[in-house]
Subunit: 250 residues, 2 copies
């Protein structure tokens, strides 16, 4: 007996950004597992059981999904954005590695989605059009010292930077320290994008120069994208365009 399981990315919020392969997997599922607000995006229907669960129980959720797959159910684990970027795919593979050897024989498919940083970048222009990095600013699962080290090296490398989970009520300090570090190291007026709730009715895009950034511009629904030293602003009526040119002169 061999189970199968799909780990699918729902994109940032709009149904128009869900890929057809994800829609097809959901249509064939018997069980959908995931964080409450993401499972809420899947329409209920006969024959489909929804298994919403709370934040921070990713491993329990993964084991539930794998156990149901072992019983022959067609399980889809849903993530917002892309499941491989700070989302459920790594959690499921952690459970696979720690679990019974039979789980390794499952047909496990990861279906990519539009991750938040690329949806946010698209709304602002093309700030990630040159080399860039993606950093999860939450220190729930790694020491703050590692985040700080990565910020310093990323600034030195002159990467554009996309920050996931910049700020939460339980971690008010990290984003303040992040801004302080970047203001000191970069020491320029490069553009920063605060993209909140991208592709939903609550979407807000704000472009601010680095020295003017403040902590309260971000919350847990915000992607923050910091330009590199070459990132440019095209002024116009309304929100400016932010893009990073393809070239860096020698």
């Amino acid at each position: 007996m061999s189970g199968s399981i799909v780990i699918a990315g729902l994109g940032p919020g709009s149904e128009t950004q869900v890929t057809p392969e994800v829609t097809a997997a959901l249509a064939q599922a018997t069980d959908v597992v995931g964080y409450i607000p993401y499972v809420a995006r899947v329409a209920p229907r006969r024959g489909l059981t929804l298994h919403p669960s709370d934040n921070r129980v990713e491993l329990d959720r993964s084991r539930l999904a794998l156990e149901m797959a072992a019983e022959g159910r067609r399980v889809v684990v849903v993530s917002s954005g892309d499941p491989g970027v700070f989302a459920m795919a790594s959690a499921v593979f952690e459970a696979v590695e720690a679990g019974p050897l039979t789980w390794r024989a499952f047909d496990i498919r990861v279906l990519p989605g539009i991750t938040a940083m690329l949806a946010a970048a698209a709304r602002a222009g093309a700030p990630l059009g040159h080399d860039f990095c993606a950093i999860n600013l939450s220190d729930n699962l790694k020491p703050w010292s590692l985040i700080e080290k990565r910020l310093r090296l990323a600034a030195e490398a002159d990467f554009a930077m996309a920050f996931y989970n910049p700020r939460s009520k339980s971690r008010p300090e990290g984003f303040a320290k992040t801004l302080e570090i970047l203001k000191t190291i970069c020491a320029d007026a490069r553009p920063v994008i605060f993209a909140r709730a991208v592709s939903t009715p609550e979407e807000e895009i704000r472009v601010v120069c680095l020295p003017d950034c403040t902590v309260e511009m971000a919350d847990m629904r915000t992607m923050v994208i910091v330009g590199s030293s070459t990132t440019r602003i095209i002024a116009r009526d309304g929100t400016p365009i932010v893009y990073t040119p393809r070239s860096v002169p020698a």
Copy 2:
């Protein structure tokens, strides 16, 4: 008079990974502009003019698109993957910035797509499940010294790394130097993924430990993903699973 233009990502190759908003934009287009193999992915129909052009003429292509938009045509500029990641969005904005002021008033929409690194990561497991960076290894538009600096700092930051354009016939040396630098700095057997032609019938996924990587494992259709020091391999029959855990212990 105000024009409108869409810059759309077609994803890595499979039609099942094209978002509905991109499909809708193509259905309404009067003109599709892009690199020959990407325009070839758009089905011809009455009322649609296809404008395929060769590689390395991105600025000319962007100006053509903007000029047609100014005439009131519904232009879609297509990229493979995501248009904001080493693709056409930055080129169009370079043309906008250098062009007549009227172009800035256009309604310019970037529609994100599944970028190659995320499609490749999904096929391999979840190698980008923790902090990572994306580097274009082509030195057509930037000095090699900058690439080398970024590689060294990214390794020091212990990012997983995704490499676009690792190797071409005109640039045989860069990827050899890249492997040499990483083997020296990382000095471990971390997994490297060579993902060729992902989501097409020619797809090949190969997982190799860093010391065993050789230059000819990559070509221009290959995405290379190098794990961080924490990236793990789950052995099993067939291609192993590669993933980066969500946690880094203090």
